[in-house]
């Protein structure tokens, strides 16, 4: 087969499969959230559509699709329409650098299960994730209404604050691996110990950031319904509202995947070495893929668990946690890692 054609076919295939995987997972996450929340509150949750409510996400999507799209008169049209798209696209784009499993062998050619294998993988994630803030600011501003504006401004301030903590918390990993490439990070964890154990402070900070960056409870002040109605998406309805929803849940999946990759060994299975996994060929790849997804799902359950466990922080508390605890702790983590990495007798 022609090499170029093969390359493009596999690349396009990966794009389609992985994005849909993420979207389906996001949809299931919505259902999971409702069901698990219900269990935690001794209720049933949606269980009528399909087996155990499994088809509920499809029903929801159809409903969004056929609902009237109310565009209030006061909005700034162009930016108002752009905002939901700008929320979803960065979230999707981050998937490009996440390695989903060990390389597959198709027709004798190795196909890595990552869409774009960038040398600066994590920096790319950092950059693209920072674009997500525009969707929120845009929505808040273009709605030309009070609650969305306050929500949007709050959200942007929160997101930029925690972005710093996010950046600081991962530097320790790259000091130890000596690479910014996510495949190398996974390889380093297969050979050694998971970074959750060797970088506990970085792990903790990253988890906190995952909650803050996705505006999840306990950091959901931007859309705190008791004070801001629905925050920046108050004025949105129908498919546009669904886009915000999708963007949020995709971002949650992306963060779960990042945590699995960076701190929980990626597709690494405990007590199984990379060579053993490779020896099983494509089945090994599949196994790695399953392992990776199990970790993602566990973390997504963790999101919901935290949601019904910890009450919402006040906005000033959120900001104080980011600036006065997160950043100094992140810097301390880097300094500690720098000293640990020194070979004995250097000083």
């Amino acid at each position: 087969m022609n090499e170029t054609v093969f390359y493009f076919a596999t690349t396009l295939g990966k794009i389609v499969v992985f994005t849909h995987l993420a979207l389906i997972l996001a949809a299931l996450m919505v259902l999971g959230e409702r069901r698990i929340s219900a269990v935690m509150q001794s209720r049933l949750g949606p269980n009528r559509v399909g087996y155990g409510g499994l088809l509920q996400p499809i029903a929801d999507a159809l409903k969004f699709f056929f609902k009237e799209d109310v565009v209030p008169g006061q909005v700034e049209k162009v930016l108002y329409i752009l905002a939901p798209a700008i929320t979803v696209i960065p979230a999707l784009l981050t998937i490009a650098v996440i390695p989903f499993g060990p390389a597959l062998t198709i027709f004798g050619t190795e196909v890595p299960l990552v869409i774009a294998d960038l040398d600066i993988g994590i920096l790319f994630v950092f950059a693209i994730a920072s674009l997500g803030v525009y969707g929120v600011v845009l929505a808040g501003w273009a709605s030309n209404s009070r609650y969305p504006l306050l929500g949007g401004v709050r959200s942007s301030a929160q997101m930029i604050s925690y972005e710093l903590v996010l950046g600081l918390s991962v530097i320790g990993i790259f000091m130890s691996t000596g690479s910014l490439r996510l495949l190398d990070v996974v390889a380093a964890q297969q050979d050694g110990v998971w970074f959750a154990f060797s970088q506990p402070l970085g792990f903790l900070l990253f988890v906190i950031c995952a909650f803050a960056e996705t505006n999840r409870l306990p950091f959901d002040t931007p859309e705190a319904e008791t004070e801001l109605v629905a925050g920046y998406h108050t004025e949105y309805s129908s498919m546009k509202f669904a886009m915000f929803f999708m963007g949020e849940y995709t971002a949650m999946f992306v963060f779960a995947a990042l945590i699995s990759t960076l701190f929980l060994g990626g597709w690494d299975i405990p007590f199984v070495t990379a060579e053993q996994l490779a020896a099983w060929g494509n089945w090994g790849s599949l196994l790695g893929f399953v392992s990776f997804f199990t970790k993602c799902l566990c973390f997504m359950f963790f999101y919901i668990w935290v949601r019904w466990t910890i009450p919402r922080f006040r906005f000033d508390q959120t900001m104080a946690l980011g600036w006065k605890v997160g950043i100094p702790a992140g810097v301390a983590n880097i300094v500690a890692t720098a000293f640990i990495l020194l070979p004995p007798g250097t000083l």
Binding site: L79, S130, Y134, S156, I160, E163, F315
Partner: protein, 196 residues
């Protein structure tokens, strides 16, 4: 593929730039600037400068522009009325000047007139940048001086912003607002003291 990338990203940069200059609303302009700066980042990627491209996104596309947006939203909307003619005149002066500078530099470099050479197989640039930053004969001193610069910016920024913040708060307290409303002063519609 590179041609394709170039065309797309250059379109982003140009259309964004034009929109930014000509759009009457200043908030729209700021968002057009986002597109334009992102296009430039893409051009860096096309040229194989991966680290530079990402830095462009992190610092300019997200950082500086968020700041700009906040500044715009903080200011009076009427500030948006800047004469396009004056901007165009300034552009007519600055554009050719920059062009002339670049050509002069290239002439000294001896690269004017050379056909665009084929791109070498691009390699990741981050390790090389890291090594240069840590070489005493390389960029070690500028690297450290950069931190001093950042420190100055940190101190300067808040020192300059504080008087404005104080003025804003003192002018727009809830008490003021109540007074203004009692006087029936329609013009003094105060903003929310968010988080206060």
């Amino acid at each position: 593929m590179y041609d394709f990338m170039f065309v797309i990203f250059a379109t982003f940069a140009l259309v964004g730039g034009l929109l930014m200059v000509f759009h009457p609303s200043i908030v729209h302009s700021a968002f057009a600037l986002v597109a334009s700066l992102f296009g430039v980042a893409g051009l860096y990627w096309t040229l194989g400068a991966d680290f530079l491209g990402v830095t462009q996104v992190v610092l300019y596309v997200s950082g500086v522009t968020v700041l700009l947006l906040f500044a715009v939203m903080l200011s009076d909307k009427t500030l948006g009325a800047v004469s396009i003619l004056r901007c165009a005149a300034m552009g007519l002066v600055i554009g050719p000047l920059a062009m002339a500078l670049m050509v002069t530099y290239r002439a000294i470099d001896g690269m004017v007139g050379t056909e665009g050479a084929a791109l070498p197989d691009p390699a990741p640039t981050t390790p090389a940048i890291g090594d240069l930053l840590l070489q005493p004969e390389g960029y070690l001193v500028p690297f450290e001086v950069a931190s001093v610069l950042l420190l100055i910016v940190l101190v300067g920024a808040v020192t300059l912003a504080r008087p404005m913040a104080d003025r804003q708060v003192s002018r727009k307290t809830i008490a003021d607002r109540a007074d203004a409303e009692a006087r029936g002063d329609e013009g003094a519609s105060a903003p929310q003291g968010e988080g206060a």
